[in-house]
């Protein structure tokens, strides 16, 4: 056969551009990971394999503190945002349109629509006033700020799960003499669980990765891992940054894969 024939789905050059895209997307990340194992100090010249930058990051007091701070903030924010999101999802899903619904949706989705820098500046202004008035400069500012922008990320998967649930199961439970709270605990919550877990993981990753809002809200000496890295980028970069990045990257990848699996089970 002279030719392979005409392929309806093929458009000339598209596969090439797509492949370029995938290479473009992954090559920098792969290089970043590879150089985190570089024995030399360069992020460009390979001098052999070594764990030294992971060790040096581990021993770096600044990194240790930033890591602990990042984890405290991300875990607290994920817990608070997810709890608030579950309650909000229960209130706004599977019911008739109520007064103020549009406003509520706009409020919940606000962090997705307003540019981060605008929210960051607004929080800087607001919290600066409170800091002056109360004298408190602790981590609560960051935790509350993170909780706020994590709410929509936790809310969306939980709401999606709730919408896909069979209402008749709850009616059956109510018919069998379960009080509303028992219905929630014994029927609704067990079914909602994967959605809650997915929402919590998303919130955790989003909080862990945030740079802009943290950079503006943090008080002196309150660096998280991302803001610490942002500060380091102004100096000569060593593969220590690559090592930290690689660890953060792994957490994100694992979370995304777990999230994908969790949201798939609903079918």
């Amino acid at each position: 056969m002279a030719k392979r024939g005409f392929d309806i789905r093929k458009l000339r050059g598209f596969s090439g551009i797509a492949m370029t895209c995938f290479v473009m997307l992954y090559m920098p990340i792969v290089l970043l990971v590879v150089y985190s194992f570089n024995a030399g100090t360069s992020v460009a010249i390979w001098e052999g394999f070594s764990w030294r930058w992971y060790v040096s990051a581990w021993d770096n007091e600044m990194v240790q503190e930033a890591t602990v701070r990042s984890l405290i903030i991300a875990l607290s924010a994920a817990a608070i945002a997810t709890t608030a999101a579950v309650l909000a999802a229960l209130a706004t899903t599977r019911n008739r349109k109520f007064r103020g619904q549009t406003a509520i949706f706009a409020l919940i989705h606000q962090p997705l629509m307003v540019p981060e820098i605008v929210t960051a500046v607004a929080l800087l202004i607001f919290f600066a006033t409170i800091k002056v008035a109360t004298g408190y400069t602790g981590l609560m500012y960051l935790i509350i700020a993170h909780s706020a922008f994590c709410i929509p990320f936790a809310y969306l998967p939980i709401r999606a799960r709730l919408q896909g649930m069979d209402l008749s199961l709850e009616q059956a439970a109510a018919d069998l003499y379960a009080t509303p709270f028992q219905v929630f605990r014994r029927v609704t919550l067990p079914q909602l669980w994967p959605g809650i877990l997915a929402g919590a993981m998303l919130a955790f990753v989003i909080s862990l990765d945030d740079v802009v809002i943290t950079e503006f809200v943090k008080s002196a000496g309150q660096d998280t891992l991302p803001t610490y890295m942002l500060g380091q980028l102004r100096r000569v970069v060593t593969p220590e940054i690559n090592a930290i990045s690689t660890v953060l990257l792994m957490i994100s990848v694992l979370m995304v894969i777990a999230y994908t699996l969790l949201s798939r089970t609903k079918k």
Partner: protein
Amino acid sequence: MTKAITAQSLRKVYPGNPPVEALASIDVEIQDNEFFTLLGPSGCGKTTLLRLIAGFEHPTSGKLDMFGESLLDAPPYKRPINTVFQNYALFPHMTVAENIAFGLQMLGTPKASVNATVGEMMELVQMSHLADRQTGQISGGQQQRVALARALAPRPKILLLDEPLSALDFKLRKQMQLELKRLQTETGITFIFVTHDQEEALTMSDRIAVMSNGAIRQIGRPREIYDRPADRFVADFIGDTNFLPAEVISNSGEVTRLRLSSGQEVDAHARDGAQGKVTLALRPEHAELTDDGAGLLAGTLREVVYFGTDTHFHVTLDDGSDFVLRRQNSPADGNDFATGDRVGLTFPAGAAQVLRD
């Protein structure tokens, strides 16, 4: 007569595990100006053959010519062949008129000429009053007409129709059958029509190719296919058929002398020198009921079902097999046979057909 389409050893295998052979070495010739129908159950390969001719698929091996020249290297947009798709595939973002104009525009036809042809086509299918409607706002029957006008507008040499009537209701389908036949005669374009509806095929076609399992079982005029089915599949797929076991006694040309299970002898039609044990096909309306002992076969009448235009008699033959006989009703007819009666069956010489194995 010139040949519009010639396929030689045309074969199509879809890769996979296991690979699927959609067409197993097909040979077919379709004449110019012909209404040719590909008939068969779903999965028989008829749509695959149509898609090979349209150019949406490429054969695994074999030859495919149009008017003596190979089609295989031409992409679909260079083939003067248009398709009426099963689901019509009308462009939802265009109006009725824009849909019909599309092919002509792509061919680079001057604007004035495009408009004239579009007007003509809309008149031909009686859609002029809906020219500016979106295609989502018209009925299924109207969509069908638009799809037809769109495919005819570029004046193709061959028109392919992929079960175009299957989505229409019964009455509309009958009406469109006649209209399609009229359009084919008027335009003189070769129509290749795919359907699984045997009645549709018999009504409209000049010739029919009956397909199953990726192979063509028989090609012929509707009458030939119905009266002289080549094999058991064709006899079974088209119309109702009684199958009778028989043994060949002698053979001369197209006439074969047979002995039936009852021991009686009869002449039947055979395609080639059949020998030994064979199967006979006999249409229900070709047999007649007689008194017990008077016919070629004997049995017991099990059931009489009245259908208005005709009556069906279900008989259990003495060899244990079932036989259905159909008789047209007339006012003079009395109810001369009753359930449980012993009856005889007879049929004229030549009415039965010896089937290929």
